[in-house]
């Protein structure tokens, strides 16, 4: 396919149509209002600035003296989890933040975000009345996997902690509760206070995204970051394909159509960076049986082309059972799915 040919075809899209006159008039009216309000608000802002400065100084003095409680500090007496009843969180309703802060724009799906306050509630659903799953320390990192949904005047995001590679770090416990320091949580978070003060901010993947990750790098990367770094990308990896261990357990939690994605291949193929690795390499290879991809005999070097965030992930949440559908979808999206494979002579 020639670039010029493609350019010529797309140029046929160059539009000669004019906007609808009714739309043009309506937009102009709105712009006039916006311009008018902006001019007005600039004048008012000068007056507000002086008032705000005075109020901030007074509030600072009150906070320091303990007269005003900081609303997002973890307070076990107000913790709905500790009380055992899902009650409205004080987080949103008792904020002492100054008003007038511009509302942050919506955070796109698959953005990496960081919490900016301590004790932010993680909830089962997008409501302060939903059950709290625990609280997040300031600086907690996650991946936006759903939302925003606006409820009670606040934008809510479904956020997943990046999780951990197999056999590393802390063990996530279910049900979640208390302060969530192990990055294995998933739930709804308010992205901002009712006055627009951001409680979530976008950030980069810690350590960055290697442009050409190796099997080890991809395998040991926190799974959620695979989505942030490589969703939509085609990855080519070279690695040692070890003979898998025998006696793999079976898995029957999924819709049969996507069992291959939720549970992985029963032969548990993996990829490693080092020749001679036995049993298990760091990167699990997931193969869609309908793809026609056949892995060769193990004990050799392979070049593997594949991707994360397979479209079939959307169906991983369809299975009946106790597991959270959102978590299952997130898990499936992190899997490295093989598109093509060929034996090679070495790394």
């Amino acid at each position: 396919m020639l670039d010029d040919q493609l350019r010529r075809l797309l140029r046929t899209l160059d539009d000669r149509s004019d906007p609808d006159p009714a739309f043009a008039d309506a937009l102009f009216e709105r712009l006039s209002l916006v311009a008018h309000n902006e001019r007005r608000s600039r004048g008012v802002m000068v007056l507000l600035a002086a008032a705000l400065l005075t109020a901030t100084l007074a509030a600072g003095a009150a906070l320091g003296s303990g007269l005003i409680p900081v609303p997002w500090t973890s307070d076990r007496d107000d913790d709905p989890v500790a009380q055992g009843t899902p009650t409205p969180s004080p987080v949103a309703s008792e904020s002492a933040r100054p008003s007038g802060t511009p509302a942050p724009s919506a955070i796109p799906a698959d953005s990496v975000v960081r919490t900016t306050v301590d004790g932010l509630q993680l909830r089962e659903s997008f409501s302060t009345r939903a059950t709290s799953l625990g609280t997040l320390p300031n600086g907690s990192i996650g991946l936006v996997v759903g939302g925003p949904r606006v409820a009670e005047g606040m934008p809510w995001y479904l956020v997943a902690a990046p999780s951990l590679p197999p056999n590393t770090g802390c063990a996530g416990s279910l049900p979640l509760s208390g302060e969530l320091t192990c990055p294995t949580w998933l739930g709804w978070i308010t992205g901002a206070d009712v006055d627009g003060t951001a409680w979530l901010t976008t950030t980069d993947v810690p350590g960055g995204c290697p442009e050409e990750p190796g099997a080890d790098e991809l395998g040991t990367m926190q799974p959620g970051f695979r989505i942030a770094c490589y969703a939509g990308a085609e990855l080519t990896l070279r690695g040692w394909y070890p003979a898998p261990p025998t006696g793999q357990s079976t898995c029957a939690v999924a819709d049969p159509a996507v069992t291959w994605l939720v549970c992985g291949d029963p032969d548990a193929p993996t990829l490693a960076a080092e020749e001679g690795t036995v049993d298990v390499g760091p990167l699990r290879l997931t193969v869609d049986p309908a793809s026609g991809v056949v892995l060769p005999e193990p004990g050799r070097w392979l070049e593997v082309i594949g991707h994360v965030d397979d479209p079939a992930s959307e169906r991983c949440g369809d299975a009946p059972g106790d597991l959270d559908p959102a978590w299952l979808i997130f898990h499936c999206r992190t899997q490295f799915v093989v598109d093509a494979v060929r034996p090679v002579s070495g790394p």
Partner: protein
Amino acid sequence: MTYDQPAGSLESIVRDERAFRAWYDEVLPRVYRYLAARTGGDVTLAEELTQQTFVEAIRHRGSFDGRSDVVTWLCAIGRHRLVDHYRRHDREARRQDRLIEAHRLGKQPAWDGPATRDAVERALAVLPADQRLALILRYLDDLPVRDVAHAIGRTEKATESLLVRARENFRRAHGGQTDA
């Protein structure tokens, strides 16, 4: 009257309602056409993005430094809104990947289809949102791969891979429409 205005003059135009309307009547069609060409014939979406673009421009008119054509500035704002839109709808569009995948094992139609607007729009419409956006930025806006990568928040290498798949899927979709 020209609207290649120096910094600050957008404010003076906005203050004078007649000048503001004249300015608006001149630039609106150009910005609208830019966005309409990039939204696959979706008039509602083109109008929504045009509205977002102008509201943002008027709110931030002080940041227009007058060094570029005001329409170029407006189109740059529009492009950001377009990228935001496609990002929001990326997951929805990924579901369409299945349709593309279904064609993968089928026959490979010839690239040359009719160079008509409708055919191109239909071919673009079946692409995942990220691939559609990459093609538009690369071949309609003529942005270098580096700038496309920056706009869509990916590495250059990942963007090149995305473009390879986008071109291939577009070729199939566009050629496929001539098979009936």
